[in-house]
């Protein structure tokens, strides 16, 4: 069987997620990938794939990738690249595309170019015997030229360390990121997940057509939108009644004073025309699952609350007080529910109600300096596939954990999660600097200073 060499060209963000995404998509689509270079942090993967169709299928789902090229030349220097290309043109590599309309794109990685320099670079390929017209807007075939200047922006070499030229065979699914932009979404909350990460999660969770996908901490439903875009039928639960009914405080600063109207997860699904994939959302406490015991979900995606912007709570009360029955509605009280408990409950629940070989994905917040591998949650029924970090602030990060269910649950299953929580993440988040003053303390200090200053001023005047 004839196989082809392709260059998968990536956007340089969320680098840690890249390999997991490509592997997940390939295994989901059942496409064998042969790595021609071990995957690295450099913004490309050089792979051998069975057909152009296979590349297109992988690209269409990927959101870390930009586009895929059928590689025509791959050389360490510019002059060598031109030599190789000239030779290949003589051998007739251009024949099938000779008469088609075309354009040439130029990418410089870790360097920049002016418009003139770009034109100059394009002109340098004038020896290629194109006969078709140039068409910048909608060409039949696009060529891509790439110069790579390393990964260190503080130390850019004079000449590129590697150059590529190839024919673009597929664009990636990144256009979905703009389509699902939070800026234009009908309903968003305080902690709506960024569309790229949501789409990434759906890919890493191997969501495919007809799957039943659950988000037990649904919030404003960002994970569901992404999962539905990739064919999953989605269902979610959340403890926050007001959130699911779209009646929380408005999130957008410009419209803070206007109450939400007709906002709901379903409205988002309608906006993105995937309401056909929307099943339901339910107000329920994830610590006490409300599902029939033998229901199996195909994928469970979650972004549990970290206790910073959304509280970590479950139904319960600290004291065993009797509930006074009144005619009015009773609002159940909530107690604090530590992050470790949330994660353990989530894993125990998933061990029972996720299909075998199904994936469970969730985020955990960590303090970078206190983090080590041993804190990561474990469960005998799950295998850790990936653990990718997204930096949030100087001191904090969150990690996306990808688990695959490897066996059915047993009574002897062990489950542990020891993310340092003696000081909860929230306390540390706000108290990392011991000398930091609270807003109230700052105000008091300012008032004191003002008084001192006035006193001083009066003194001067008296003199």
């Amino acid at each position: 069987m004839k196989r082809f060499i392709y260059l998968l060209w990536f956007a340089h963000e969320h680098v840690a997620f890249r390999i997991h995404e490509i592997e997940s998509i390939a295994s989901l689509l059942n496409i064998p990938i042969k790595w021609l270079e071990p995957p690295s942090d450099e913004p490309w993967y050089l792979v051998e794939l069975p057909s152009e169709e296979a590349v297109q299928q992988i690209s269409a789902r990927s959101v870390t990738m930009r586009r895929a090229l059928q590689l025509w030349a791959d050389e360490p220097t510019i002059s060598k690249l031109h030599e190789t290309l000239k030779e290949k043109c003589l051998n007739g590599i251009l024949e099938p595309f000779k008469l088609k309309s075309f354009k040439v794109d130029v990418d410089l990685f870790c360097n920049s170019q002016t418009k003139e320099e770009k034109l100059e670079r394009i002109e340098s390929f004038s020896y290629i015997p194109f006969e078709g017209p140039v068409n910048l807007k909608n060409p039949d075939v696009t060529f891509q030229y790439i110069e790579y200047y390393g990964l260190d922006p503080k130390n850019i070499p004079e000449f590129p360390t590697r150059t590529f030229f190839g024919r673009v065979v597929a664009e990636s699914g990144r256009s979905l990121i703009h389509e699902l932009s939070l800026k234009n979404r009908t309903f968003i909350g305080n902690t709506s997940m960024d569309p790229q990460l949501s789409l990434l999660m759906a890919n890493l969770g191997k969501v495919s057509n007809g799957d039943l996908v659950l988000d037990p901490f649904v919030g404003s439903g960002s994970l569901l939108v992404a999962a539905a875009k990739f064919g999953g039928h989605v269902i979610g639960t959340d403890i926050d009644y007001l959130m699911l009914h779209g009646r929380t405080r408005p999130t957008r600063k410009q419209t803070r004073h206007i109450p939400r109207r007709n906002e709901s997860i379903e409205a988002n699904m309608v906006q993105y025309s995937c309401v056909d994939k929307y099943i339901d959302v339910i107000v329920a406490d994830s610590s006490i699952p409300c599902w029939r015991s033998d229901v199996e979900f195909d994928c469970i995606l979650a972004d549990p609350p970290y206790g910073i912007r959304e509280p970590t709570e479950r139904i319960g009360s600290k004291e065993f007080l009797p509930i006074v029955k009144k005619e009015t509605i009773h609002f159940p009280s909530k107690v604090d529910y530590g992050l470790n408990e949330i994660v353990k409950d989530l894993m125990k629940f998933s061990s029972k109600q996720l299909k075998l070989n199904g994936r469970l994905l969730f985020w955990v917040p960590v303090f970078k300096q206190h983090y080590d591998e041993s804190q990561i949650p474990r469960h005998s029924s799950f295998k850790l596939i990936g653990n990718c970090e997204q930096v949030l602030t100087t001191f904090t990060a969150r990690r996306l954990l990808i688990f695959e269910k490897i066996k059915m649950p047993e009574d002897t299953d062990e489950c542990s999660c020891t993310i340092p929580s003696t000081n909860s993440f929230r306390e540390q988040f706000f108290n990392w600097d011991e000398n930091r003053l609270t807003r109230k303390e700052k105000k008091e200090a300012a008032a004191r200073n003002k008084e001192l200053w006035f006193a001083k001023l009066n003194n001067i005047n008296v003199k």
Partner: protein, 125 residues
């Protein structure tokens, strides 16, 4: 709430409830909206369903027409049947009403299509 969701929900987390399934439905408003038929989803979903409960629920809210009492084995071949099942699962929706626990008669309200299964703090087992 769609009948698909109803088929998956139980009240087993209530104190002293053993099975808590199926929940009884009292439907005040029922909405029918057209959804695109996805054969793969329906065929994948059927083994996860409790068929008897689905048929009973459909009859309870007055949309049980044409659903066979017993599910035939070769349902995958029968596109008409699959379309009917799709209609019952995804297109019929209870907007306002109640879900009632079969063992304790605890009422869970459904409003704007969203069931509220929150328990009170003294009901947690």
């Amino acid at each position: 709430m769609k009948l698909l969701t109803h088929n998956l929900l139980s009240s087993k987390s209530l104190k002293n409830v053993k099975v808590g399934y199926p929940l009884r439905i009292v439907a005040k408003d029922v909405k029918i909206s057209e959804k695109e038929f996805n054969m793969e989803f329906v065929t994948k979903m059927i083994p996860k369903l409790d068929w008897k409960v689905l048929v009973e629920a459909a009859i309870q809210i007055g949309h049980g027409n044409g659903l066979p009492e017993q599910l035939v084995d070769d349902y995958e071949e029968d596109e008409d049947l699959l379309k009917k099942i799709h209609h019952i699962l995804m297109e019929v929706e209870v907007i306002n009403g109640e879900l009632i626990c079969p063992e304790t008669e605890r009422i869970f309200p459904i409003s704007s299509g969203i069931p509220n299964l929150l328990l009170n703090e003294d009901e947690v087992s």
